[in-house]
């Protein structure tokens, strides 16, 4: 098990955004998290990546308890993410944006950098080479010297994924990577994600495009009101009555007859 959460709860005052979720992700899989708006998907992401500290519960990642670690420390352990709204570094070039993502894999002390020692030169060169390699993968090579601010929305999303990939993570969390994209762009992103998974990465995906979720996921977890209401393969989820009820609402009459 690469990631395991044990009864995590995240309360904001009286609001139970996440209420006791057990959730685990196997290596080399695409694991989707779906649920209606406000069901706690993004909160779950924020808790897992250390952005929020859970009210209670425990999170293990790659054999380590990361519940109380800060985001940067969790990133160092090999977990990175993208955001629901674009969070690029607008006044840096596309290539620099990517290289920032490599931060925790570069070992340069302040003194060595300041004196520009050969080891620093070597590492910088390697980091930029790695950055270009990733730019090739995400298909933004021709934009590498442009400012990130000049990218289109879809390109920005790709850049965020690239920036998260460049540190060679074990687990990548994608928060609605295809939001606002046309079908062609969506396909491009989903294929990219699939390829990453083939190369040994595990992916947690929050996504509203059900077609994409069902086509690409190995496993799907469904949240509603901060609780896990179902988990299984896409086929199992599609036929799960609880899930259908959560998404479409229970039919009153039906409900009445049942009770």
């Amino acid at each position: 098990m690469l990631l395991q959460t044990d009864q995590i709860k995240m309360y904001f005052g009286g609001i139970k955004a996440i209420d006791g979720v057990n959730f685990s992700v196997q290596p080399h899989t695409i694991h989707s998290v779906i649920g209606p708006n406000g069901s706690g998907k993004t909160t779950l992401f924020n808790v897992i990546t250390g952005f929020y500290r859970p009210t209670s519960g425990r999170i293990d990642f790659d054999g380590i308890d990361i519940t109380n670690l800060k985001p940067h420390a969790i990133a160092e352990k090999g977990m990175t993410r993208t955001f629901q709204t674009l969070r690029l570094f607008p006044n840096m070039t596309v290539l620099e944006n990517i290289v920032v993502g490599r931060h925790c894999r570069i070992e340069e002390s302040l003194w060595k950098s300041g004196l520009r020692l050969p080891t620093v030169k070597k590492q910088e060169k390697a980091a930029f080479a790695k950055g270009e390699e990733v730019l090739g993968t995400i298909g933004l090579m021709d934009k590498k010297y442009q400012l990130a601010a000049s990218l289109s929305y879809g390109e920005g999303r790709l850049l965020e994924i690239g920036r998260a990939l460049v540190s060679d993570p074990k687990l990548l969390l994608l928060d609605e990577p295809t939001a606002g994209m046309n079908p062609a762009e969506t396909k491009r992103v989903m294929e990219l994600i699939k390829n990453c998974c083939h190369k040994g990465l595990a992916i947690i995906l929050v996504e509203h495009d059900m077609k994409a979720v069902m086509a690409y996921s190995d496993r799907v977890t469904v949240l509603n009101h901060g609780q896990k209401i179902a988990e299984g393969t896409p086929e199992e989820i599609q036929t799960n009555e609880g899930v259908i009820a959560a998404y479409l609402g229970k039919r009153r009459g039906h409900h009445h007859v049942d009770s």
Partner: protein, 323 residues
């Protein structure tokens, strides 16, 4: 164009090295040049903090004062040498920078700026009121002239020491900015949350920025102390902090040459505007408003843009227009 890139730095260094010769060791010119160097160091430091890391400080005169007073006291009371004074005072000043960084670790923008204003004021008040140590308003007097070995530095010698230190500070800073640390600074200025998710320890890099800026201010303060020979708390007031900030913003915050351009222009500007002393700050105020509104990357950005336009005119080169 690339093969000519070295030509400007070489020309500028040559000019700086020959300045005493060209001006026949003109006392006034060298005096201004030394002040320019000292403020360049201060502005380079603040540029790291404000320009790259996005942490606005209006209290740099506080660090400047600490650097000056510690170096001055070490020289006056303990009779320590020039270089050792600079070293100790810069280290102590950077410790104070660490302290300020730690106490403001969660503050940004206007809140941080306000605390730094308070910090500058506190330092100034300590200098005024700790009279048995600093001499208070009467000033700390009798700082000896700088010596290298047993040789007392002339004004020309001191000028060379200053530009040598500016060069070191400039190169060191450029290298840091072109590394992991510099990228971390810029990333946290641009998008703090994303930066932390990329593995950047925001708290740590904030402290690094504060410490470097304070260290540089300590150097600048020491250089000022040995240059002026006496120190008065009044000199390190709020408008001194604002002046340093103006230098950075006017020159171009977050640019490589900006702080030096700003330091030189503002220092010379002060001299030119000396007859209108009471209007100086008004003129700079208006200047800063115009720069912020119309040239967000300052004069340095403007020069770059002009250079590009000239390049295009000259060559009819469409490539230059594209990038």
């Amino acid at each position: 164009m690339k093969e000519k890139k070295w030509i400007y730095p070489v020309l500028i260094s040559l000019l700086l090295l020959l300045l005493p010769l060209i001006t026949r060791q003109n006392y006034y010119v060298l005096h201004i040049a030394i002040i320019c160097s000292i403020f360049s160091i201060l502005a380079i430091g603040l540029n790291i903090l404000q320009g790259y890391a996005g942490l606005v400080s209006i209290g740099q005169a506080g660090f400047y004062a600490i650097g000056a007073y510690i170096a001055g006291l070490l020289a006056v009371k303990l009779g320590l040498g020039f270089w050792i004074c600079i070293l100790i005072s810069s280290l102590v000043t950077s410790l104070v920078g660490l302290g300020l960084g730690l106490t403001t670790v969660r503050l940004y923008g206007g809140y941080l700026a306000l605390v730094t204003v308070g910090f500058g004021r506190i330092v100034q008040l300590v200098a005024v009121n700790w009279t048995n140590l600093t001499g208070g308003g009467e000033g700390l007097l009798g700082i000896p002239s700088a010596k290298v070995g047993s040789h007392v530095l002339s004004q020309t010698g001191y000028y060379y020491v200053c530009i040598f230190i500016v060069a070191l500070v400039f190169l060191f800073t450029g290298n840091v900015i072109n590394s992991k640390t510099g990228r971390a600074f810029i990333a946290m200025r641009e998008q703090r949350i994303a930066a932390s998710m990329m593995g950047i320890d925001i708290a740590k890099y904030r402290l690094i920025a504060f410490v470097i800026a304070a260290f540089y201010s300590g150097i600048a303060g020491s250089l000022y102390g040995f240059f002026a020979g006496s120190l008065f708390p009044d000199y390190f007031n709020l408008s001194q902090s604002v002046t340093i900030l103006i230098m950075v913003v006017l020159g171009g915050s977050g640019t490589k040459y900006g702080p030096i351009i700003g330091a030189i222009l503002v220092t010379i500007g002060f001299e030119v505007l000396r007859p209108f002393q009471s209007y100086q700050m008004i003129i700079y105020g208006i200047g800063i408003v115009l720069v912020v509104m119309f040239m967000p990357s300052g004069l340095s950005g403007l020069i770059q843009r002009l250079a590009k336009v000239i390049k295009i005119r000259k060559k009819g080169d469409t490539h230059a227009a594209a990038d």
